[in-house]
C-alpha cells in the first residue's frame, strides 16, 4: 500500500457506516453486507441481551455482590459486530470490558461476573471458547495475539487472531511493539481498537494528535475507522479484515469509533471530568435503537418480536443474578492451586502449613 503522509494528515477522518443513527441503510464503496432478516434479528437480540447482562452486573455491584464492574454500555455494536465476524477457528484476545465478545464466544456471563466478584482471576478455558482470558494490564494482550497469530502461520491454519484494546492502550509500548511485530511478520491478526473517547478521565487528545486508525500506516499496514455504534459496519469491516488476515494479507487496525456511555468502572465518577451534553449527544447514536428502527421501518420485525426479546432479556438478567448469588466462595486452599503445572515443593510445604494452621481453629470450635 502507498501512503501520502501530507495528504493523509490533512484529510478529514473517514468513517465506514452502513446504518445511520436513524436506522437508514447507506452504501459504502468498499464495504457491503448482505444480511438475512433472521441474521439482523439475531444481531438485535445479541445487542439487547448483552446490554441486559451489563445492567444486571452494575446492579449487582451496587448491591455489594461484585467488587467492581467495567460496563460495556454504548459499545455493544462494536463488540457484537466484531464478535459475530469471527469463525470458530479464530482466536479473540479481550481486555476486561469485552462482555459482548464473550457472549459471541459462548462464555457463560456468570464466569465473567466471577472475576469481578473475586472468586477467581478468570476461570474459563480459553481453548474451549477460543476466547482468551481477560487481560487487565492495559495493552499486554496485543502481543499475545500477535504471538498466537505467528503460531497460526506456522501451523498453516485457516484462522486469524483478533485483539481488543482501547484508545488509552494505544499509548502503551506493548501495543506499539505488537504493531511492529505484526507488520514485519505479516501475522494474521486484526487489531480492534474501541475508541470510546475516554481512558478513565483522560480524553482522546491526551493520547493522540492524529486519528488512531492512521497510526497503522506508519507501521506499514492498513487502518480503518468504522462507526463503532453501527453493528452492520463493524461486522462488515471486521469480516474483511479477518478474511485478509487468513489469506496471508497481514494485519489491519480497526478503530471502532464509539462512546463509553457509562463510567470507566463502577468505582469511577464521570461527572468530575465530562459534561452531560456529550453523553446526551451520543445517546442519539445509540447502537441498539438504530437496529430497532431499521427492523421496524422495513417491517422485518413486529412488536411481538421486540416484546419477546425484552422478556428473554429480563429472564436472562434474573438468571445471571441468581447464579451470581449462588457462586460459592472458593476453599481457602484454592490459593495454592494452579500456580504451577508441575510439582512445586515450596507451595506444597506452605499449603500443608496453612492447612495445619486452619485446622487449629477447627479443633477449638
Amino acid at each position: 500500500m502507498t501512503f501520502d503522509a501530507s495528504r493523509d494528515a490533512q484529510a478529514p477522518p473517514e468513517l465506514v457506516q452502513l446504518l445511520t443513527p436513524e436506522g437508514e441503510r447507506v452504501d459504502h464503496p468498499d464495504y457491503d453486507i448482505d444480511l438475512t432478516p433472521e441474521e439482523i434479528r439475531g444481531l438485535y437480540r445479541d445487542l439487547v441481551l448483552v446490554r441486559r447482562i451489563d445492567l444486571e452486573a452494575v446492579s449487582l455491584q451496587r448491591q455489594g455482590e461484585l467488587g467492581i464492574w467495567a460496563s460495556l454500555l454504548g459499545q455493544e455494536a462494536a463488540q457484537i459486530g466484531s464478535g459475530r465476524a469471527l469463525t470458530d477457528a479464530d482466536m479473540a484476545f479481550p481486555t476486561y470490558r469485552e462482555h459482548g465478545v464473550a457472549w459471541c464466544r459462548d462464555v457463560d456471563p456468570v464466569k465473567l461476573l466471577g472475576l469481578f466478584r473475586g472468586v477467581s482471576h478468570g476461570g474459563w478455558d480459553p481453548t474451549e471458547h477460543n476466547f482468551h482470558l481477560y487481560t487487565i494490564v492495559i495493552g499486554s494482550q496485543t502481543l499475545h495475539a500477535v504471538g498466537y497469530a505467528m503460531g497460526i502461520q506456522r501451523d498453516g491454519a485457516e484462522a486469524a487472531a483478533i485483539v481488543y484494546f482501547g484508545d488509552g492502550a494505544t499509548s502503551q509500548g506493548d501495543v506499539n511493539e505488537s504493531f511492529i511485530w505484526a507488520s514485519v511478520t505479516n501475522a494474521p491478526v486484526v487489531f480492534f481498537c474501541q475508541n470510546n473517547q475516554w481512558a478513565i478521565s483522560e480524553p482522546l487528545e491526551k493520547q493522540t494528535r492524529i486519528p488512531l486508525y492512521r497510526r497503522a500506516s506508519g507501521f506499514g499496514f492498513p487502518g480503518i475507522r468504522v462507526d463503532g455504534n453501527d453493528v452492520f459496519a463493524c461486522l462488515a469491516v471486521t469480516r474483511k479484515a479477518l478474511a485478509d488476515a487468513r489469506s496471508g494479507q497481514g494485519p489491519t487496525l480497526i478503530e471502532a469509533y464509539t462512546y463509553r456511555m457509562g463510567a470507566h468502572t463502577t468505582s469511577d465518577d464521570p461527572t468530575r471530568y465530562r459534561v452531560a451534553e456529550e453523553l446526551e449527544a451520543w445517546k442519539l447514536k445509540d447502537p441498539i435503537e438504530r437496529v430497532k428502527a431499521y427492523l421496524f421501518k422495513n417491517q422485518l420485525a413486529d412488536q411481538a418480536f421486540f416484546d419477546a426479546i425484552d422478556a428473554e432479556a429480563e429472564a436472562l438478567g434474573r438468571d445471571v443474578r441468581k447464579r451470581c448469588l449462588e457462586m460459592p466462595d472458593p476453599d481457602p486452599m484454592a490459593i495454592f492451586q494452579h500456580v504451577y503445572a508441575e510439582r512445586h515443593p515450596l507451595l506444597e510445604e506452605e499449603r500443608e502449613q496453612f492447612a495445619a494452621y486452619l485446622a487449629t481453629f477447627e479443633s477449638e470450635a
Binding site: 480459553p126 502481543l143 495475539a145 497469530a149 503460531g151 514485519v184 494452579h338 515450596l346
Partner: protein, 336 residues
C-alpha cells in the same frame, strides 16, 4: 563390551558452556518440532555469545526467529505462541535488557495459568546471560535473579558448568511451567567434558554437592560456583575442608540438600554476585536459621555485591566476590 565402549567414546565430548547449551537446544529442537528459538540476533549471527550458532541454518527461520529489538515483545509474543501449543525459548541478550520485559514476565507469563484455573500451561524458557567479570559497559553485568525468584509462577534456575548446561536447558524446555534460565556469561568459554548420552542426571530443581567437606558449607549458583571451588581448594592448604553446593535451582529450592550439609558442618557462607541486601542469600540465611538453628556454630554469612549499581568495569574486580573475600567470610565463621 566393545559396543558399550564405542558408545561411551562417542558420547563424551569436551564442550564450552556456551556450546553445551547450543547442543542442548539442538537436541530439544530435534526431539520436538514445537520448540522455537526467538531473540535478538539469534539467527545468522548465532547470538552475541554464539549460543544459538548454526541453529537457524539447520532448523530454518520459522523455528529460529530473529525478532525486532523489543524485549517485552519477545516475551509477549512467546506467551501467544505458547498458547498456540509452541514451546518458545527466548534469549534476552544481556541481563540488563530483561527489564523492558518485566511486565510481560511478571503480570502475564507468571500468572496466566492461575488466571485460567489450570486450563492452560505456559512452557516458555527465558534465557538470560547474567553476571559480570567480562569488562562490559553498564547494563551488561547484572544479576537480577531475585526479581524472578520473588515472582510466584516462575521457576528460576542457573547453570554453572557445561554438563549441567547441556542437561538443564533441555529439562527447562521440557518443563510445562515458565523457566527463567540464567547463564553465567563469564563462564561461557569454560570447557569440560559433557556426556550427551548421560542418563544419571539430576532433576532440574535438585542442588548438587560439587565438593565435599566437613568444616563449612559454601552455597553458590551460576558464576560463583567456580569461585567457591577455587576457594575450597585454597582452604584445603590451610587444613579447612569446605563443602561447596551448587544450588542450580533458586525456585523451587532444594532445601534438603542444603540443610543436610549445614547440619553436618555447622557453618555456612552464601556467595552471589548480586547485592547482599535483599539478595537471594537473605532467603537462604533465613531458611537455614529456621531449619538448622541448633546445628549452627555461627550465623550464616553472606558474600556478594555492594548496595551500589554495578560499577564501571575497571572497578568490577573490587565489586565481584573473589576467592579472598569468600575465604575472609569463611574465616569469620570461626570467630563466633
Amino acid at each position: 563390551m566393545t559396543v558399550t565402549t564405542a558408545r561411551t567414546v562417542t558420547t563424551v565430548t569436551t564442550l564450552t558452556l556456551a556450546r553445551a547449551i547450543n547442543e542442548g537446544l539442538r537436541k530439544a529442537m530435534e526431539e520436538n518440532p514445537k520448540v522455537l528459538i526467538m531473540g535478538e540476533d539469534v539467527g545468522k549471527l548465532g547470538g552475541v555469545f554464539r549460543v544459538t550458532d548454526g541453529l537457524q541454518k539447520d532448523f530454518g527461520e520459522s523455528r529460529v526467529i530473529d525478532t525486532p529489538l523489543a524485549e517485552s515483545g519477545i516475551i509477549g509474543t512467546a506467551v501467544g505462541l505458547a498458547l498456540r501449543g509452541y514451546r518458545p525459548v527466548c534469549e534476552i541478550q544481556f541481563d540488563g535488557f530483561v527489564f523492558p520485559a518485566m511486565d510481560q514476565i511478571v503480570t502475564q507469563l507468571a500468572k496466566m495459568r492461575l488466571r485460567s484455573l489450570g486450563a492452560i500451561k505456559l512452557p516458555v524458557v527465558v534465557r538470560v546471560p547474567c553476571g559480570g567479570g567480562i569488562g562490559a559497559v553498564e547494563h551488561h553485568s547484572e544479576s537480577p535473579e531475585v526479581y524472578f525468584t520473588h515472582t510466584a509462577g516462575l521457576r528460576v534456575v542457573a547453570c554453572a558448568n557445561p554438563a549441567d548446561a547441556y542437561t538443564m536447558i533441555q529439562q527447562a524446555i521440557a518443563c510445562d511451567d515458565p523457566v527463567i534460565f540464567f547463564e553465567p556469561k563469564r563462564r561461557y568459554w569454560d570447557k569440560a567434558e559433557v556426556d550427551t548420552a548421560a542418563t544419571d542426571v539430576l532433576p532440574l530443581h535438585a542442588a548438587r554437592v560439587v565438593r565435599q567437606g566437613s568444616d563449612v558449607t559454601l552455597l553458590a549458583y551460576g558464576p560463583m560456583v567456580k569461585t567457591c571451588l577455587e576457594a575450597a581448594t585454597a582452604a584445603e592448604e590451610d587444613g579447612r575442608a569446605i563443602e561447596v553446593i551448587d544450588l542450580r535451582s533458586l525456585n523451587p529450592l532444594d532445601t534438603e540438600t542444603i540443610f543436610e550439609s549445614v547440619r553436618r558442618t555447622g557453618r555456612c557462607v552464601v556467595v552471589h554476585e548480586a547485592p547482599v541486601y535483599s539478595g537471594f542469600g537473605a532467603e537462604l540465611a533465613a531458611r537455614i536459621t529456621e531449619a538448622c538453628f541448633y546445628h549452627l556454630e555461627a550465623p550464616v554469612l553472606r558474600v556478594g555485591g555492594f548496595s551500589t549499581p554495578y560499577p564501571p568495569s575497571r572497578l568490577e574486580e573490587h565489586y565481584l566476590p573473589d576467592l579472598d573475600r569468600v575465604l575472609d567470610a569463611v574465616d569469620r565463621t570461626f570467630t563466633y
